[in-house]
């Protein structure tokens, strides 16, 4: 619904500004620009831009984001005993973008409001163990369960794959509507220009998920992979009358739940092709 609303908004703005314009550039789509940008939406980003009218420009491009990695110890429980292993977290935030820049007063200022969307992998952050297999797990239990996380009364458990490895992710929406403001023209009036944009991507509430490897030996002797992602929320780590809780994990998830938008700050140099 949010996706449809933003597309509708962008389209409505596009047509309404076109209809309301005192002067219209009859040479629609006759100009092309190229942009290179750095910012939270790409390091670097690249785009093609064109002018629809004096009041509307559109940019289509991709933001390359380095797959930053960091390592962190992860605690887990197996058969009643606590273990720790090192996890490698990797960022996956490269995104395509389609943005409409709306200029309310194109003759006097390059100020614009931007609406559009970004599209990228829904797996924002992935996790895997660096030590393989993870310590403590009996190979008999590979692929069938054994690791519990969070409140035991929630009966959530996961298993490793057949080699004793685990994986997890932080999931957001792959399609992310965007709203922002900025200065600078999508296609410069001269050879080049500098653009500055500030806005947010709406990527929904991040979800923390761990992959539960699960294999079932069927009656006919074949094996079926019933593996699935298990979501863990802050409630799974919240202290209750019968559970001591895990405050560190609870606090992280509590904060993460509130980060439903991703800030975009971008500096772009645009070049006019023709």
């Amino acid at each position: 619904m949010k996706r449809f609303s933003f597309i509708l908004l962008g389209t409505a703005l596009l047509f309404s500004t076109t209809m309301l314009a005192q002067e219209t550039d009859k040479n629609i789509f006759n100009h092309l620009g190229v942009g290179l940008s750095v910012g939270t939406d790409g390091l670097p980003g690249i785009d093609l831009s064109t002018k629809v009218t004096d009041y509307v420009g559109v940019r289509l491009g991709y933001g390359f984001m380095p797959k930053f990695k960091f390592k962190q110890d992860v605690d887990y429980t197996y058969h009643g005993s606590d273990y720790t292993t090192e996890g490698e977290f990797k960022l996956n935030n490269g995104t395509f973008k389609m943005l409409f820049d709306i200029y309310p007063a194109p003759k006097s200022t390059s100020f614009h409001v931007t609406a559009g969307f970004y599209a990228g992998s829904s797996e924002l952050i992935t996790l895997k163990n660096t030590e393989s297999p993870i310590p403590g797990i009996d190979p008999v239990d590979y692929g069938s369960g054994g690791i519990t996380l969070g409140n035991p009364e929630h009966n959530k458990f996961i298993g490793t794959d057949l080699d004793g490895n685990v994986k997890g992710r932080v999931k957001v929406n792959g399609f992310r509507p965007y709203l922002g403001i900025g200065f600078g023209r999508s296609v410069p009036n001269t050879l080049c220009s500098v653009n500055f944009d500030l806005g947010v991507q709406f990527w929904g509430k991040p979800k923390m998920q761990v992959y539960k490897f699960d294999y079932i030996e069927n009656l006919d002797g074949t094996i079926t992979d019933k593996s699935t992602w298990i979501e863990f929320t802050k409630k799974d780590f919240e202290e209750t009358d019968t559970y001591e809780g895990d405050k560190d994990v609870y606090d992280i998830l509590n904060i993460a739940n509130k980060i439903s938008v991703y800030p975009v700050i971008s500096l772009r140099v645009g070049f006019r092709c023709f």
Binding site: S144, T148, E153, N155, F157
Partner: protein, 324 residues
């Protein structure tokens, strides 16, 4: 406790929807004997509309008190012990007391069907017993019992138990299942707080393996309770006429079930065996379909002290139907 947990309350969750059209679809085929899955009670006491319990009914003949033919091809009967021959293919389950002069016994076996026009022969244990039903426009008009042991054919007066569960979800559930995987979560408590839970998966439902694991690895001895009826769960059967049965290999536990809140998929049950506990401290159990698998979750956690320990045991059975 553990036996009640294993063979305890079943709360059937109709996939979270009271509208059957919204229930997840499976590709389960209609069980082979669904069309001839009868349940007869041989008693003159009228059965009330919607009643599923048959425990208190007095039989009207000396050979058979109750006979059920499940969708999955199982015969479960309460019959006179003398018509069960030596070396019978019928498995004796339990002796029923307080039936007057006749010593009835619960038995279970396989049955086949032979239809000749409007005559339906239900052949039990390769012909040890044959129930012949004459039907008229789908209604049972007469039943005879041929007992090979006695070389005798007897006319019987029977009441047919009606179907109490007959929508799509019931059709999927009411068959014979085999457990292919059991997931166990054991949670010890200390001073009222849950300690680190232990999760382990087992192929099938080998209760001995589960109880040995808890005893050897977790210092929890519930072997006596868990293995009370047998070392494993071989089959679980539900019927549309409100019966269920659990085959433990060495013994079988059976009972009647009926909906108490079908919109939430909860049903009540009574065991045929008086020493089986009905109480279940917890949230009940749920059943859901995962593809063609039936996942039975004993969601009600039982907390009690055993060996000076507080703990809960959670069991999740993944079941498959052999005939699909």
């Amino acid at each position: 406790m553990a036996c009640a947990l294993v063979a305890g309350a079943f709360a059937f969750n109709s996939c979270g929807s009271s509208d059957d059209d919204d229930a997840p679809k499976t590709n389960l085929t209609t069980p082979k004997y669904a069309e001839h899955a009868y349940k007869f009670v041989f008693s003159d006491t009228p059965i009330q509309e919607g009643e599923t319990s048959t425990k208190e009914l007095v039989p009207n003949n000396a050979l058979v008190a109750q006979a059920e033919f499940t969708e999955g091809g199982l015969f479960v009967g309460k019959i006179d012990q003398k018509i069960v021959p030596n070396g019978s293919k019928l498995r004796r389950i339990a002796t029923v007391k307080d039936m007057g002069d006749t010593e009835f016994v619960w038995v279970m076996g396989a049955y086949t069907v032979k239809v000749e026009g409007n005559v339906i022969n239900l052949i039990v244990a390769d012909g040890e017993l044959t129930f012949t039903i004459t039907a008229d426009n789908g209604n049972t008009t007469s039943i005879t019992l041929n007992v090979s042991q006695l070389e005798q054919v007897v006319n019987l007066n029977a009441q047919e138990m009606k179907v109490v569960a007959n929508d799509n979800v019931d059709g999927d559930l009411c068959r014979t299942w085999k457990v292919v995987k059991t997931n166990l979560i054991y949670t010890p408590y200390e001073n009222g707080k849950a300690k680190a839970a232990v999760a382990k998966s087992f192929n099938g439902a080998n209760l001995k393996e589960i109880s040995d694991y808890l005893y050897d690895e977790q210092d929890l001895d519930i072997r006596e309770e868990l293995l009370k009826h047998g070392n494993s769960i071989e089959k679980v059967a539900f019927t549309k006429r409100g019966s269920f049965a659990i085959d433990f290999g060495q013994s079988i536990s059976m009972g009647d079930w009926s909906w108490t809140d079908k919109s939430k998929g909860v049903f009540s049950y009574t065991w045929y065996e008086e020493d089986m506990e009905n109480d279940f401290d917890g949230d009940g159990a749920t059943v859901r379909f995962d593809g063609n698998n039936c996942v039975l979750v004993l969601n009600g956690k039982v907390r009690e002290s055993a060996n000076n320990k507080e703990y809960t045991v959670f069991l999740q059975f993944t079941m498959q139907a052999p005939e699909q």
